[in-house]
């Protein structure tokens, strides 16, 4: 079914699909087909790691050009997260920052010839959303304790609400469902937007308007959508963390 899905959707050729066609019928081609998105994400991981390693290799008090750019990014994420969560957000900055840079590179990699956006695949985005889900729940569990966590899921019933039993139970299940839906909504939103962009890129690749390829106009759309979707993913992640952290404070 997945094969049929790929066949029915237009897709620009990339490095893996070209190799796949070259070695068609071999086990290597099957391997490439099965791990296409992971191969691209690993390439992106490798690139980010190399850049981050060399940029932050010499952290001096008087920064150079690259260190300055990297510090601007790190400081920007720190301000973004701590601006929403307050000082408590500092511990989530590496996680949210890594998500941001990783998703951004994966979203925009579709613009590079012979590359593909791994985020146009649901498995990839769901994996990231599951990481967020697990980390959020783990943070809630660790901060609130078992009973506190259950209390949080039951929307902290107090007074007459606590004695009504049925309402806290309903609230508990409602909250559980809303928590479980979060990774689905997070991952599907990102995947669908990027998949739509990539499909549009592939469709418009063969068209032009007065000699100007339509791909040129669509490129801006892809860039904007890629950045916006990254921001949305990270913003929602930050909000999830905020809800679980401030739940403890209230």
């Amino acid at each position: 079914m997945a094969e049929a899905h790929v066949a029915t959707n237009p897709e620009l050729p990339n490095l893996v699909t070209i190799l796949e066609k070259t070695f068609e019928g071999t086990s290597f081609a099957h391997f490439l087909k099965a791990w296409e998105n992971i191969i691209f994400s690993l390439i992106i991981i490798f690139m980010i790691t190399v850049v981050a390693y060399f940029v932050s290799k010499k952290n001096s008090m008087v920064p150079g050009r690259f260190q300055c750019a990297w510090e601007m990014f790190v400081g920007g994420v720190d301000d973004f997260v701590c601006g929403i969560m307050g000082p408590a957000g500092r511990q989530f900055v590496p996680f949210i920052g890594t998500l941001f840079i990783y998703i951004l590179f994966m979203n925009l990699s579709g613009l590079i010839p012979l590359f593909k956006s791994p985020t146009s695949n649901w498995s990839i985005t769901l994996a990231l959303a599951l990481c967020v889900f697990v980390y959020v729940q783990f943070t809630g569990f660790r901060r609130l304790g078992f009973l506190g966590y259950i209390d949080h899921l039951a929307e902290k019933p107090r007074g007459i609400l606590a004695f009504s039993v049925i309402i806290p139970i309903l609230m508990f299940f409602l909250h559980v469902i809303s928590e479980l839906v979060r990774p689905l909504s997070l991952s599907l939103r990102l995947r669908s937007n990027i998949w739509g962009d990539d499909t549009l890129l592939a469709v418009l690749a063969g068209f032009g308007l007065g000699g100007v390829p339509l791909l040129l106009f669509n490129t801006f759309l892809v860039i904007i959508a890629g950045i916006v979707q990254t921001l949305v993913f990270c913003l929602l992640t930050t909000i999830y963390f905020t809800l679980i952290v401030t739940g403890e404070e209230h």
Binding site: M1, A2, H5, A34, W35, N37, I38, S41, L42, I45, I48, T49, A52, Y53, V55, S56, N59, S60, M61, P63, W70, E71, V74, G75, D78, R90, V93, P94, F95, G97, T98, I101, Y102, P118, N121, W122, S123, I124, L126, A127, L128, L130, C131
Partner: protein
């Protein structure tokens, strides 16, 4: 169910592992050191600004202190100058009075000397006149006038003349 067919368990697990590896690497080598440097720089700038404010406050305090001291010194200096001027004037008065007294004394002394000298000259002149008169009388009468007796007579005569001259 259709949606689930888009998923691949292998890719899902591999992606989770890849992301966790990236998270570990970036946290270890990029996020923590950079955030540490940012915090250190922020603290350094804050402490330096604080230090600058303290130094500024100290400078302001010293300035006001110096201004107070300077005005006190100016006041003291003015007082000293006024005292000096007063002292100078007083000394000038003393010197002036001394000089006047000295001058008066010197004038008085000079007058006394002149008086003495006049008296002396008068006496000498008188002696000379007596001698001249005696010698003239001797030549007129042709004999020697006894010195003691005649001298006395002449002197009495001269005194009489003098008294007459003075309106007696």
């Amino acid at each position: 169910m259709e949606l689930l067919k888009l998923l691949s368990a292998n890719e899902l697990v591999a992606q989770i592992v890849s992301f966790l590896i990236l998270l570990f690497i970036l946290k270890r080598f990029a996020w923590k050191p950079v955030l540490k440097v940012l915090d250190e720089r922020k603290n350094k700038i804050e402490s330096e600004f604080k230090e600058i404010d303290e130094i500024k406050g100290e400078a302001e305090r010293m300035k006001s202190e110096y201004e107070t001291k300077l005005s006190a010194i100016e006041r003291i200096a003015k007082e000293k100058i006024e005292e000096g001027v007063k002292e100078g004037r007083r000394m000038a008065d003393v010197i002036k009075q001394g000089a006047v007294k000295d001058a008066e004394r010197m004038i008085a002394d000079a007058k006394d000397v002149i008086k003495d000298e006049t008296q002396k000259a008068h006496d000498i002149l008188k002696e000379d006149i007596v001698d001249l008169t005696i010698s003239a009388a001797e030549k007129v009468i042709g004999e020697k006038v006894t010195d003691k007796h005649d001298r006395k007579a002449i002197e009495e005569f001269l005194d009489m003349l003098e008294k007459k001259k003075n309106g007696w």
